[in-house]
């Protein structure tokens, strides 16, 4: 058993967060697979995954709508913990140390590191814009009614926003593979204290403080019960 899996004590992602994340993640991957064929013919064979080219064209916007609705809920959930702090800026300046695993040199990290926060903000920028531009070019529901210049603008924007989102997604997935234990954290919700201390030390301290207070209050209750009879 690797260290990452031992002693999973701290709750990192609650059940609703996990459900939302994975529904969004699955929709996102389906959107990438069904959208790339229209991005470049090199990816045309991916339409085979969705029951053919026309079916891919029909399905793609509906998956996008589904993702957008869930993303709203997820964005609300992640908003506060994604606000940038001063130490996040320092973390980004030391991206070299991050990438070469010189973790001992890194500034303190809260519940999310600056990379995770960037993923949030890039997606918060991309997904609403992808939704709007996507709706503007949606055939046959909307497309025909939209003025041609707007439709052209929507088409070109949709393509390059999607590119940005896909690159972000690749970095995000890779980080989950690279940082041992983080994939497990999103699957099972819990992490070990040692994992938390190493990767998110400020969050670890917060959690320890909470735990301490929790025990203190329980003890007070216990001793009061002990005195009363």
């Amino acid at each position: 058993m690797s260290l990452a899996k031992t002693d999973p004590q701290l709750l990192r992602y609650g059940v609703w967060t996990r459900l939302l994340h994975w529904l969004v993640a699955i929709s996102f991957v389906l959107l990438v697979l069904s959208g790339l064929p229209f991005f470049h013919p090199f990816f045309w064979s991916l339409t085979g995954l969705f029951g053919g080219p026309t079916m891919t064209r029909i399905l793609h916007p509906w998956i996008g709508l589904f993702l957008s609705l869930l993303f709203v809920l997820m964005a609300i959930r992640f908003f506060k913990e994604s606000l940038f702090k001063r130490h996040d800026v320092q973390w980004l300046k030391q991206i070299d140390d991050v990438l070469t695993n010189r973790d001992e040199k890194l500034p303190p990290v809260g519940k999310n590191n600056a990379g995770q926060k960037l993923v949030f903000w890039v997606m918060l920028l991309c997904i609403p814009l992808l939704l709007i531009t996507g709706v503007l070019m949606w055939q046959p529901l909307v497309g025909e009614e939209v003025p041609i210049t707007l439709r052209r603008l929507a088409s070109v924007s949709h393509a390059y926003l999607a590119f940005l989102a896909i690159i972000t997604l690749i970095i995000h997935i890779y980080s989950g593979i690279w940082v041992k234990g983080s994939f497990q954290a999103m699957v099972r919700g819990r992490v070990s204290k040692a994992w938390a201390r190493h990767h998110h030390d400020l969050w670890y301290e917060e959690e320890m403080e909470k735990e301490r207070k929790h025990r203190e209050i329980s003890r007070r209750h216990a001793s009061r019960r002990g005195e009363s009879p």
Partner: protein, 318 residues
Amino acid sequence: MRGEQVNLQNIIARSATTVPSPQERTGGIDPVTKLIDVSRCIGCKACQVACAEWNDLRDEVGNNVGEYDNPLDLTPNTWQVMRFDEYENEQGNLEWLIRKDNCMHCADPGCLEACPAPGAIVQYANGIVDFNSEHCIGCGYCVTGCPFDVPRISEVDGKSYKCTLCSDRVFHGLEPACVKSCPTGSIMFGTRDDMLDLAETRTNFLKRRGFDNAGVYNPEGVDGTHVIYVLQHADKPGIYSALPENPSISPMVSAWKGVTKPLASAAIGLAALTGFLHYATAGPKEHGEDDEQAVRDDEARQREREAREERDEREGRP
């Protein structure tokens, strides 16, 4: 063209295709052109009827809204429409300008450039730009790409339709149905050179008749079109029901479909590869035994402190 490609011509361009299209035949196919001489049109709409007849199209019967245009616009089953304009010229006289509006068969077709479905739009050696409906997925990108607002998406089958320049007739040596039906010789058809020649002759004739600005509409912005107009007022194409002055593929469409996309596709692949190589060189990011030990120490300290506090409480010390 109906069904799969059956003609025996080279293909100049094919939508969403990055490898060469069939082009081994070198016998020499003459590019064709349809010449629409607006000055000779009497607005009888025989061409509209012939188009519907040959192509087996029957549009819904619409309503008369007090205009000669009928139907008012191109539709999935009206591939050409006569557009009527009342124009008051410099002398204060009324001119009735009647323009047969249909696909211009651009040499540089915006629809083909925008289309994401391989082979749904093809450009044959004779210059005809044809939709292959079986490969059409109904995304509407051709509409987005077209500088002339020609393709229309069907509500019945979700596919895009437009004038084929009767590619089926032309492959078999016949002229398009509209040409055959025209009683005044307003619509002519032949090799590109012949038609450009004829267009010039007609332009000169019109100039002699007092139309100083008569000219040929064969816009450079799309590398010329295989449907050309002779206009009495070629300096003002806009008066012919908003015929675009200087049409070209929109820069937004070029940016959308240009060289950046293969580059972006490569970047996506490279991003994934970079991740893998990073893992193979830098290795995973893991916590170590020192973190485990530090947590155990933290916990021991914490237990010690709590035990002390508890002891203090029991003994009544503050």
